[in-house]
Each structure stands twice: as C-alpha cells, then as structure tokens.
Subunit: 125 residues, 4 copies
C-alpha cells in the first residue's frame, strides 16, 4: 500500500482554552493533533507554531511509527518552548512522507464539554 495523505498540513485556528474543569487528564481543556502514518516507514513530522505577535517557533519534532497513528496534545509541546494557553496560534506540520492530519479541541471551562474538529488543510511547500 502506498502512503495516503500529504506531506504538509496547516491548522489555521489553534487555541488552547486557558482553564479546565473536571479530573485530569481526560477533562483537561486541550487542542489535539491527530496524525496518521499509514506507510511502512517511521515518519518524523516537524511542527512550526505561528503566533499573532512574534516570530514562528519551531520546529517541534514528533515521530509517528510506521503503520501507527498518534494523538498529540499541543499542550504537551514544550521543546523549544511551551505553546501559550488562551492565545490564538496556527500550526504548520511538515512530514518526510505523506500523513493525514486532523484537529480536535476539548473545552471544559464551563463545567460541561464543548468539542470541535476540522480537517487540517493540505498544502504544497
């Protein structure tokens, strides 16, 4: 099977809700990035975080093993620096070989739960 997907993806509307309610980690407010690597080779993805008021930060390096999927909490991206809570950002994901990327947000601020998801946008670089 050839590897389905694209080698670069953008999530334009990134935002980590700054507060949470309920037990961690399942109810921690968060922005998640799902990355499927359906190929037979491990893939390294490099993530660049774009901000509203300063230069982009990155790359954050993430490995997804061959024929595996990974769900990454943007909250957990800490090297080279943590992504600030409660501030708008965008993500550019660049992989060595085709992957598929989707965004999911969990927001537990108001003692309930709100979720959203959007396909990332595949781009050519």
């Amino acid at each position: 099977m050839s590897a389905p997907g694209a080698r670069a993806w953008v999530v334009a509307a990134g935002w980590i809700p700054p507060e949470s309610s309920g037990p961690e980690p399942e109810y921690t407010s968060r922005e998640e990035l799902a990355i499927l690597n359906a190929s037979t080779e491990d893939v390294t993805a490099r993530i660049t975080v774009f901000h509203t008021d300063r230069d982009p930060v990155g790359p954050y390096e993430v490995t997804v093993a061959a024929r595996r999927t990974r769900s990454l909490r943007v909250n957990d991206l800490i090297d080279p620096e943590a992504v600030p809570l409660g501030r708008h950002f965008s993500l550019l994901v660049e992989a060595e070989s085709p992957v598929v990327v989707q965004q999911v947000r969990f927001d537990t601020r108001r003692d309930g739960l709100a979720t959203l998801s959007a396909l990332a946008y595949p781009v050519e670089l």
Copy 2:
C-alpha cells in the same frame, strides 16, 4: 448518474468516549461513520483501524446498498475485534466504487452533549 465521491478515505482523529450518560442507544457516546453510496450498485467498504501502539486491525467489512446511505457506529465494529473505548485510532475506508465519508462524534460523558464532525480526507492508494 455517475457515482460521486472517492474510493478511499481517512478519518485521522478517531476516539470513542469511554463513558456515557442518559438512555441508550440515543445518548451512548460514540464515533459514527456516515457512508453515502449514491451509485446504482451495492458497494463493500473495507475499514482498517490504525492504533497507536500495535499493528492495524482489519479489514472490517461493511456493505452499503445501491442508492442508500449508512451510519455506522464504530462502537459496533466487532469482527475481527472490538475497537477499544477511550483510545485514539484512525480509520482507512476503502470502497470498490466511489462513496462519500464523514465522521460524527457524540460525547455524553458530562450529563450534557458535545458533538463534532469533520469530513473524512479522500486519498489515492
């Protein structure tokens, strides 16, 4: 009418919430896969489930009759094995002829309801 859609689709961000509140089956937390077969022939779709820490599982075979649509609860995929609750997965849907695939999640864990949806990503294999 020719059949609209694509023959392979990926849902990268699959996850079945591990708890529910409210009467079953309408408030059972779930991940759903909607598949439209607008063609004049029945179609068999083969679903492969990708996991984070072990080899992909499948195919799960699903038939969608000619000129029919189907909404499939991933919770109900049990052959060759049930898809675990509360764990990230991705889905690859391969059909004999073009279909259209969309994901919907219902999460009733917190005595309310949170929903999300995303178009699946059409791929070439």
Copy 3:
C-alpha cells in the same frame, strides 16, 4: 467576478435530532444547509435526500438569488415529503452554477446546546 464554488455537493452525515428544548424557532434542534450563490444570476439547487432503507427522495427545489446566501433548515423540506427526524440521511445538492455548501447542526435535546459543522464535499457528476 466569476462564481466561486462547485455545482454538486454531498453532505454524508445528515441527521435531525428528534427532540428539542427551549423556545422555537431559535432552539429547535435542526440540520441546516448554508448555500452561497456569489454569482450574478439566480440559481436553482435541486436536493436529493438519500435514506438508509428506501429509495432516494427528491428533488427538493431551492432557489438562491444572485449575490445572496441562504440558510435552509432541512426540517423545512416538505415537498415532495418531509425528511424524518431522528433518522440518518445524506444530501446531494446539484446547482445550475457554482455555489458553496456547508452543514451546521444544532442539538438542544439535553437542555443545553451542541453544535457541529462540516464543509460539504464537492463532487463531479
């Protein structure tokens, strides 16, 4: 300005929540279809509703005036017949000239509100 969009679109995951809470019509549970006609000519869209267990129904005819947008409640499609509540369906929208179509669902069943949206999928017929 040329007309942006496509002439045929699919919403695979249609479903109208069968109950509502709160004042009508703003809190009526519903499936909405947004259709933008950015062209300088009125456009007629023909909607076909695909069901799980019987032949497709339609066309439902909808007009969107030139340089106007329209938000259509699927709940209000009654000719040739009403779309049943609480049952999965898919929609095929065919327009005379390019439009852009997006789905939004409001679900007020649990005394709160859950919303979801997905871009429709543009197809060639």
Copy 4:
C-alpha cells in the same frame, strides 16, 4: 519557504449567536475567522459579507503581518458596517497572496458552551 494556502476562501455558514452568557470577552458568543499568513510579506485580505436579503457588503480590509496568524472576530467588523447578530451570512475572503482560513464559532447562549469549526473552502476567482 513558499507561501502555503490559497488566495480566496469562502465560509458559507456564518452566524453570530445574538446573546451571550458569562464574562466578556472570553465568553462572548462569536464567529471567528482564523487567517494564517506564513509568507514573508504582509498580506491584506478583503472580506465581502453576503447576506440573505440585500446586496453584499464590503470590502472589510484586514492585514495579517508576514509570518503571523490572526484571529478575527466577525463581531468586530464594523467598517463599512457592523455584521448583524442572529442573521445568516457568508464570507468571501480574498487575499493578495496565499493564506489559510478556518472558521470557529463560540455559542454561550445557554449558560454553557457550544463550539463548531470548519475549514473554509478555497476557491478560484
């Protein structure tokens, strides 16, 4: 790096919930437009708002600096005129160079929170 994205995007299903609950501005019901400009040049985007019952209004001009992202509340678009709350609209975003656009809606009307997101649809003009 070349600039990823497209130069024109449509959000078909725009709507600003007409009421809010909770402290402003974080819980103000709103429609947001995220715009990533990953290029090395500032970009001006011109937004046209399409209505259901009158001519389109615009352009609303928005600048996104080089290698920056911006989250715009449609509620804050006031020149040439404010976008009415509680009424369906569509957005056409035209930029001088490629950007990526995504929609997010926050709805706090019912003392909770409902969120939705969809990728905008890239178009050629």
